[in-house]
């Protein structure tokens, strides 16, 4: 199968959907001629014109609000938010307006929009351009949240997001834009709420999101070399969350680590770990471990930044402890 970059995969997904449905448009900063600073949307304005690939002033709350109103009146906007760190600026329009409109109107108004943005540290982009803020939106009822972990995932999830009748937030990993993966030529969709078991195993379940999926897979390699067998699961969407696949796995392996690049405290690892602990309690041979980013603003200095996120080594080390039973007795 051909291999394309995650960037190209997103581009294709949007282009295919836009060809099909004229009510879709893209709105954001430097999305047209520049094709975004990450060049993800390059070429779209040439095909669809500036009426559908709309460059905005630097006014995130404003164009987020405009997208909500457009979505309520027959359009299907794709909002481009250049950095996930700017989510804070659009929270009111996203969480007070987009997320609640369908419910508050008793089901009469819909807000079918996609907010595409990104996450991920270790780019030396410092504290205001390196955050992974998916936990904030996952907490708000009415928003769906997708976290693609490869080019294949990015295309399939984006196409599903665009056809969803609700506000969907997609977090792409900034560091993965140039990563290639096999992506079929034929159209496909990845349904929301269906986790992906990337690797089967028997000793421990590694639940990992987005950027951390690769980390988990590499940790599984390390463990395999040492004779331990890790199952790796990518939830793909954290809202809705495919609890069943995760629970089934943990009931088999009896151990789990949840790995995510958001800050650990009050982040998504707590939710997933809690659901496992609640619903597979009887099966657990070790406490469910959580590995998020450190609870510090992301430091600029490479010497500091790299230690703030989980790595294959730290994940493998925690898995070893769990499998050996060291965690059990410590708790």
């Amino acid at each position: 199968m051909r291999e394309i970059t995650l960037s190209k995969a997103v581009n294709e997904a949007i282009a295919e959907e836009m060809r099909r449905d004229p009510s879709i448009f893209v709105i954001g900063e430097d999305v047209a001629e520049a094709g975004t600073p990450f060049k993800v949307l390059s070429g779209l304005v040439e095909e669809f014109g500036t009426e559908r690939i709309i460059d905005t002033p630097i006014a995130e709350p404003g164009f987020m609000g405009i997208a909500v109103g457009a979505a309520m009146t027959g359009s299907r906007p794709i909002v481009d938010l250049m950095f996930g760190d700017f989510l804070y600026l659009v929270m009111d329009q996203l969480c007070n307006q987009a997320a609640k409109t369908h419910y508050m109107s008793g089901g009469k108004l819909n807000v079918p929009l996609v907010l595409r943005t990104n996450l991920g540290a270790t780019r030396r982009s410092a504290a205001q351009h390196s955050q992974s803020l998916h936990a904030l939106v996952a907490h708000i009822p009415g928003l769906k949240v997708a976290m693609p972990s490869s080019a294949y995932e990015a295309k399939g999830l984006m196409k599903t997001a665009i056809r969803d009748n609700n506000p969907v937030v997609i977090f792409e990993d900034k560091l993965m834009y140039q990563d290639k993966a096999p992506v079929p030529e034929e159209e496909y969709f990845i349904p929301f709420g269906v986790a992906n078991v990337l690797r089967e195993g028997t000793d421990i379940t590694l639940v990992a999101t987005s950027s951390m999926v690769q980390v988990a897979l590499k940790a599984a390699d390390i463990l395999a070399a040492e004779g331990m067998s890790a199952e790796v699961i990518d939830p793909r969407t954290i809202v809705p969350l495919d609890e069943d696949t995760i629970l089934k796995s943990v009931r088999k392996t009896s151990r789990a680590i949840v790995i995510d690049e958001g800050h650990q405290s009050y982040g998504i690892t707590g939710e997933i770990a809690s659901r496992i602990s609640e619903k597979a309690f009887y099966h657990l041979d070790a406490p469910v471990q959580r590995m998020g980013a450190m609870d510090v603003p992301v430091p600029f200095s490479p010497a500091l930044e790299d230690v703030t996120v989980p790595t294959e080594q730290t994940v493998a080390e925690r898995a070893r402890l769990a499998i050996r039973g060291d965690l059990f007795h410590a708790a």
Partner: protein
């Protein structure tokens, strides 16, 4: 009603405007009564005194034209065509309400009549209105959108963000600022520096100030601007000078510490939009006093009937609590 038809205004139009203003007043009198007799959950903000604004503008709109409304939104809702029964049901949290009781006073939406909803975030609908205008233009519709908001909302940055885009993109949106002299318990001059209309003009937006107690003046200006916006000459900004008769909300009874009683008396006795228009209609021999009295009586009866209906109506079933969080998404 079409702009062309409005230009040639006639007895029917006048009477409908009169009736709509009386309907708003009757609605509010009953809503206030419901609150005072502790029959209404929560609290609500009365539109009484500002009727000429909503009616003068909405009578210049077609049913397909859109509006966005505010926390003080009953007037906009009635003026845009809503029924008493569904409105009172909504205020009481009943299943037959416009939003099945889920929205309440601050979130009434009536999308069938083009009302995209009230909003409890001051200024929160400015993006939505602008987006509806963008959507209409992109989808080849001729709808115009009117964004209602108060003088207090001009302090929200969102307004400047979306006015900039509306001006750059010449969107068919009209920003209607209802300057009732106060935001909550604060006089407008204490919270608004400089000139409100100049702020819109600085973005190259044609702006007007009009007497918001004179329904004909409001309607004439609105009819003209709506027609021009429909032709692509928008956006526009209108500052409507008006007054709210009640407190900020129904519970705001003792207000002398921020607003003198004689100021209230002056507006109520000499600048009442309904009384003055009624007098003008009589003076012009368009209607007799008897006719007006009978209109008032009929509407009062309708309102009371709707209240009685709503009081007896059923609450939504408890099962509805987690319905409408997400719209279904047939691909």
């Amino acid at each position: 009603m079409s702009a062309a038809k409005k230009a040639n205004s006639n007895r029917d139009d006048y009477l409908r405007m009169y009736r709509q203003m009386v309907r708003i007043r009757a609605f509010e009198d009953n809503a206030n009564q419901l609150y005072l007799s502790a029959k209404m959950p929560g609290l609500t903000h009365m539109y009484s005194g500002q009727e000429a604004v909503a009616v003068g503008i909405c009578e210049a709109l077609t049913c397909d034209d859109k509006i966005t409304s505010t926390h003080r939104g009953h007037g906009h809702c009635v003026a845009k065509g809503a029924n008493f029964k569904e409105m009172f049901c909504e205020l009481l949290g009943k299943e037959e309400g416009y939003c099945r009781g889920k929205g309440g006073s601050m979130h009434i939406a009536d999308q069938a009549n083009g009302n995209l909803g009230a909003n409890a975030i001051v200024g929160g609908s400015m993006g939505i209105a602008t987006g509806a205008a963008l959507s209409a233009r992109r989808l080849g519709k001729t709808d115009v959108t009117v964004c209602f908001f108060g003088d207090g909302a001009t302090a929200q940055g969102l307004m400047y963000e979306v006015m900039n885009m509306a001006a750059l993109w010449r969107l068919p949106v009209i920003y209607a600022c209802e300057n009732n002299g106060y935001s909550e318990y604060t006089r407008t001059d204490e919270i608004a520096a400089g000139s409100i209309t100049a702020r819109a003009e600085a973005f190259g937006i044609e702006s007007h100030q009009v007497d918001g107690q004179d329904v004909l003046a409001v309607n004439k200006l609105a009819t003209d601007l709506v027609a021009r916006a429909r032709k692509g000459e928008g956006p526009f900004f209108i500052e409507l000078m008006t007054y709210r008769y009640h407190g900020h909300h129904v519970g705001d009874i003792n207000r002398e510490y921020y607003r003198p009683k004689d100021e209230e008396a002056e507006w109520k006795s000499n600048r009442d939009p309904i009384a003055n228009f009624g007098k003008w209609l009589e003076d012009q021999k368009i209607v007799t006093n008897d006719e007006l009295v009978s209109i008032n009586k009929d509407i009062k009866a309708q309102a009371e009937e709707a209240v009685a209906y709503a009081e007896k109506a059923a609450y939504p079933s408890v099962n509805e609590v987690d319905m409408h969080v997400f719209a279904s998404s047939a691909a």
